[in-house]
């Protein structure tokens, strides 16, 4: 079963614009992670936000977490063509298993 669901499924923007992706989940969590997957490659961990945190920054990435709404967002500022990839949120279920959403496919056009 999918714990996290990303929205939108696909996003196309111009270089320099900001990209916002949203993730909703169903059960209570200890933390939420975001991963990036370039075409034909494995996933790369981007950032982890804990349940007692509301916002976290890492370079051009900004992640927010709203546990009352069971949702998170990933903002990529000043996007670059190299940011073109699929982005997944992931949460842990009660058994400790990491559950990934279906992902948002981001396309950044130069």
């Amino acid at each position: 079963s999918q714990q996290g669901e990303e929205d939108p499924q696909a996003l196309s923007i111009q270089e320099g614009e900001n990209a916002t992706m949203n993730c909703s989940y169903k059960t209570s969590i200890n933390n939420l992670q975001w991963y990036r997957q370039n075409s034909g490659r494995g996933l790369v961990h981007l950032i982890l936000i804990r349940s007692n945190e509301r916002e976290k920054h890492s370079g051009r990435l900004r992640v927010t977490l709203d546990t009352s709404k069971k949702s998170s967002s990933l903002l990529i500022t000043a996007s670059r063509a190299a940011d073109t990839a699929s982005y997944f949120c992931a949460t842990r279920d009660q058994g400790g298993k990491l559950i990934f959403g279906q992902g948002t496919e981001l396309s950044v056009k130069p």
Partner: protein
């Protein structure tokens, strides 16, 4: 440090044939995962090892899939016999054990096509 290694990168087989995938995790990472990623979806955990013991294989189709990690380092995932719906990317990931170490490191995956 070297990343997670997987081989082969691509495999095409006919249905009912057998196939095996190999994974070498990052040195020192006690936890190893195998995921199945169907096109357009997120990865789904098949099996998790802690050293050479199985922690979670609840989503592994055990009638056709098997996995082992005999010496607590390398791992192999086998499908026998393969079905058309097994076409997917099989990802291996590893994680350093310890509290607070949630980040998983993924290999490049093996793309399996079953015809």
């Amino acid at each position: 440090e070297a990343g997670v290694a997987q081989s082969p990168r691509y495999k095409i087989i006919e249905k009912r044939q057998s196939v095996a995938f190999w994974c070498n995790p990052i040195s020192g990472h006690a936890t190893l995962y195998w995921y199945q990623q169907i096109l357009g979806q997120g990865p789904k955990l098949l099996i998790q090892f802690q050293n050479n013991g199985v922690v979670d294989d609840s989503q592994l189709p055990k009638d056709r899939f098997s996995a082992e990690r005999l010496k607590g380092v390398d791992s192999t995932l086998k499908i026998q016999p393969a079905k058309l719906e097994d076409s997917a990317v099989y990802l291996c990931a590893s994680r350093k054990a310890g509290t607070g170490n949630y980040e998983q490191y993924f290999g490049p995956g093996t793309r399996l096509t079953v015809t």
